[in-house]
């Protein structure tokens, strides 16, 4: 597991440049351009299970969902930030990508530290790389049950299909 560490106001143009918005829609098309104008290493080196740690207002700007679709497709386990922009937040719910709003955990994170996430328990543990450092554990707010149902279904379209089929047979 690798932690990718970024600052405040990481906008969706940085996560996925607008010039590709109308030519790339599938995960395979999106992947090579992920974080292209922010961190050229990301698309080449990201692996399933990696975590992104960032500051305030992550995902601000355009409503384009390619960043979320792409980050989910490459297997990013979670994004931990001090805050998220609202359209990005909804997009993550709709794709079933775990977002953790936990300013304390972001403050506690220093380069080299490792992060462990217990999604079910709602806790995040930051372990500094220094020998003998004690891990810090923080709890984060869970989504309301009606919204968790969307994530649990595997995303909004799966949730919607199940709902429509149930209505059809009712």
């Amino acid at each position: 597991m690798r932690v990718w560490h970024y600052g405040d106001d990481i906008n969706t143009d940085m996560l996925f440049p607008g010039k590709y918005t109308y030519t790339c829609a599938t995960p395979d098309e999106i992947r090579p351009h992920l974080l292209e104008d922010l961190d050229a290493a990301f698309a080449k080196e990201v692996q399933a299970g990696d975590v992104i740690v960032a500051g305030r207002n992550f995902g601000c700007g355009s409503s384009r969902e390619q960043p979320v679709v792409g980050l989910k497709a490459v297997g990013v386990a979670a994004i931990v930030a001090k805050g998220f922009a609202r359209i990005f937040y909804r997009a993550a719910i709709n794709q079933g990508l775990l977002l953790i709003e936990c300013p304390e955990a972001v403050e506690a994170y220093k380069p080299g530290a490792t992060i462990q996430i217990d999604a079910a328990g709602g806790t995040i543990t930051v372990q500094a790389s220094d020998a003998g450092a004690t891990p810090s554990t923080f709890s984060f707010p869970r989504l309301p049950p009606e919204i968790m149902a969307i994530c649990d279904a595997g995303g909004l379209l799966e949730y919607t299909r199940a709902k429509l089929r149930a209505r059809k047979t009712a």
Binding site: K19, Y22, S62, S63, I87, A91, L157
Partner: protein, 489 residues
Amino acid sequence: MGQTFAQKALARAAGLPQVAVGQIVTVKPAHLLTHDNTSAIVGKIDKDLAEFGLISQDLPIIVLDHVIPASDEKTATGHAKVRKFVEKYGVKNFFDIGEGICHQVVVEKGFARPGTILVGSDSHTCSYGAVGAFATGIDRTEAAALLLTGETWLKVPPTIKITLRGRFSKGVGAKDLVLRIIGDIGADGADYAAVEFHGEVANLSVEERFTVANMGVEMGAKIAVFPVDAHTIKYLKAAGVARSAYEPIWADKDATYVRELTYDLAQLQPVVACPHKVDNVKPVGDVAGKKIDQCLLGTCTNGRLSDLREAAAVLKGRRVSPKVRLLVLPASRGVYAAATKDGTLLTLAQAGGVVLPPGCGPCLGAHQGILAPGEACLSTSNRNFKGRMGCKDAEIYLASPATVAASALHGVITDPRKELAAGPRSRVARKPRRAVAASSRVGRPVAADLPVGRRAPKGRVASARRGRGRAAPKAAKPARKSARGKARR
């Protein structure tokens, strides 16, 4: 306890007597806006549409505007897919390339009505707060689900109250106001919140309110909304929407706010948002003299007739610097036609402007006016993010139409007040503007603003509530269609 606009609008939409901040409600939006991204949205649910049908032919508003005319085979194929979808499912509200930028089209053609909910797969959907609508951006997947179900969830946001006092002084406008607010509260200063504008809002035309509401998302807001007043009623009437077709909503006097701010418009000065964040706002004097290679006048933020006239007043009879490329992007066909008729576009073209088709063009870096490494652009658009105009090694500065026009003359960022004081006065600028009931005699009057597009068909205007029957593919058997319609009501 008093309720905010957001509480009242969401309670009405959800059919509840009242709602609390933080409550999640299920709503059926009056309209869903999508644009070039309709092809990707529909692509997610091709099979589902075949199985379940489109929920309503009237729900979607589809406007092709982001990459128009198509820039290559791939975008052309996307447009073709959208046209096929429109044809197959009988989508009523479709606007092909050239009609305008989606947000301008939605307001100009009377789709955005006070007190109703609109969502769109574009972040600047918040613009419709200019006419008192609850309007907010969503992602493509949510838009796809809405085409199937017609409903979504919204969390009732807390609200920030911004009170406006006085009038803008010469050379200062709505763009300076909204950039000043974003500079003050930050790019996430209104995250998840609704922003209500109170006070002497009558001193802002509907077009000016559009500029302010448009940039609500740049402060993180879910919605940015103005009260409905005589300006709004007149504007909507000209757009073909009778006063009887909507019921405005506004906040109670004792509503609860999380934050309150007041701005004296007369005290504002021209400002510039510097690279690479919209909240990096400085007085124009702090960046005056900065060399620029391109100017962009227009977009959904500042591409209306009053914006183009504001720039033309500065550029009339003059020529932009030979070292600057001035791109002019009218917000719609209606704006284009009106600006052609009154000579504004001729003034801009003779000054050296390159007039582009009404669309999003260079703003998002997809095509038209891409920047080269090392170049700087001064733009009336809403975002100055790194890479936004197609090149990560270029710089984007944001300002008002007056500042952009004044700067284009000299090839460097320039305070527009100097040009307005010194430059030859244009016919446009001399034309007397009809002032509205003024609470203050200081400052410039409100510019007359009326939608300039084609009026909405009478039938649509007359009915406040429209049928929401599910639309099946045209090929579907009639029996199946009616059975499904019944089951879903």
